[in-house]
């Protein structure tokens, strides 16, 4: 009941603040350093999505590590929720990034190092979900996909933090916070969007974890009931003879 109440309150708060923030992104004066300043507002959505997505993509291996250490299924549920949110926000990052690239750099896809590395991170996510879908046993699924996340931690780190910043790699991406592309108002709106998208993502994550826990409990209860039912009517296997084939089978 308390959970339902908090969900309702969160929905109301998001319902109020999201339209306000959206309007604010259009009201902020254009950032002069962009090629098409008026069309650069996509960055208000693009950059927070990328940052929040990265947080979830690094939380997932941590949760997987905790699962592998403790074998407590709640960590696996959290890892899946973090990966799902990270992937969803990653896809939004790619889509908003493509829109930004088209308006600012003239093409949907420029093979920019950050674009390419994020695409590869999404390939990791696809591999993770493909691996999960290949196991029917819950514990094996959790362990193997957790192992995959641990193995992917180093490549994640390389693709998100190292590769785009290598000195020999030239990127079209501006360093908007450091190079002064954003004035004070732009920065204010950007941070507001970052907080808002972060809060919405955290809320969705919480809901996903709750749904995952309920699903797990439900499956376990069903399994228990099934076992009880089976123990009440034990199977009896008797040898029978099939006269037309002349053989004996059971």
């Amino acid at each position: 009941m308390r959970a339902l109440k908090s969900t309702k309150w969160m929905a109301i708060l998001v319902g109020i603040f999201m339209p306000i923030a959206t309007v604010a992104t259009f009201m902020a004066p254009p950032a002069a350093k962009f090629q098409q300043p008026d069309l650069a507002r996509m960055v208000f959505w693009h950059l927070p999505c990328a940052l929040v997505s990265s947080v979830f993509l690094f939380l997932a291996p941590y949760f997987a590590f905790r699962f592998l250490r403790t074998t407590d299924i709640k960590w696996d549920i959290r890892a899946v929720a973090a990966m799902e949110l990270g992937t969803l926000l990653g896809i939004l990052t790619l889509l908003t990034g493509m829109l930004f690239a088209k308006t600012q750099w003239g093409a949907w896809w420029n093979w920019d190092p950050r674009q390419s590395s994020y695409l590869m991170v999404m390939l990791f996510a696809a591999g993770y979900f493909a691996l999960r879908s290949a196991f029917s046993d819950n514990e094996k699924r959790a362990a193997n996909s957790g192992g995959y996340l641990m193995a992917a931690l180093l490549p994640f780190f390389f693709l998100i933090f190292v590769y785009p910043r290598l000195p020999q790699v030239v990127s079209l991406h501006p360093n908007v916070i450091k190079d002064g592309s954003f004035d004070a108002t732009y920065k204010g709106v950007f941070y507001m969007m970052l907080v808002l998208i972060g809060v919405v993502a955290a809320w969705l994550y919480q809901l996903r974890v709750r749904a995952g826990t309920l699903e797990w409990d439900f499956e376990n209860q069903n399994a228990e009931l099934d076992n009880r039912h089976r123990s009440a009517t034990p199977r009896v296997v008797r040898t029978i003879s099939l006269p037309d084939q002349g053989g004996t089978t059971s």
Binding site: L68, M120, A134, K140, A143, N144, A152, L154, P155, P167
Partner: protein, 224 residues
Amino acid sequence: MNSGWMTEVLAVLRKEARVDVRDLGSLLTVALFSGVTIFAISVASFNQQLKGGIAAGLLWVALLFAAVIGQPRRFLTEEDQGTSDLLRLLARPHAIFWGKCLMGILEMAVTAVAMTLFFFLLTSATLKDPGLYALGLTGSVLALVGATSISGALAASARNRSTLAAAVALPLLVPIIFFGIASLRTSLGEGLPENAWPAAWGLLGYGIASIITGPWIFSAVWRR
């Protein structure tokens, strides 16, 4: 279990070597695949001077697919043949992983050297920095074996394991591809050595890290 871990590693290595010798099919598949790839590259680049970047990329693609075809099967066949339970009883997970990795390193090293000889024999590519090439190739072999072994171990008990092992391995190999091509390209005459040497060391570090941490991941999934 009274045996030391080194004994177990060597026992798994011997077992893998025997399996490979008895069933030459898998070794021949890797050899044939590698040979045909290099031959195709030489035909495609006939009468042309291969630039360092292209040569490194082509050679690396051949190495990559040889590893993806050859390495994960060491774990997949245990499940296919139903020998995994026996192996679980006989050796500790880290011994199994390292034993299989050692055999994989031997096999990939031979494949990589043979590919190199074939490659320089059949194409117009020239080696400018043998030291960098040797370091890049060593790092590539270690990193490829480490990553493909982990993916093979993770996919071994899955439903569509053969396809899945390759699909899961490829994203894990992405950073290795960057480092590998960067180091081999410069050793073949294109790019700056000050960028290539850190890439080659990075590759070696990645390979060693994945082989050292691999058993931990492997043991987490192997006993279940």
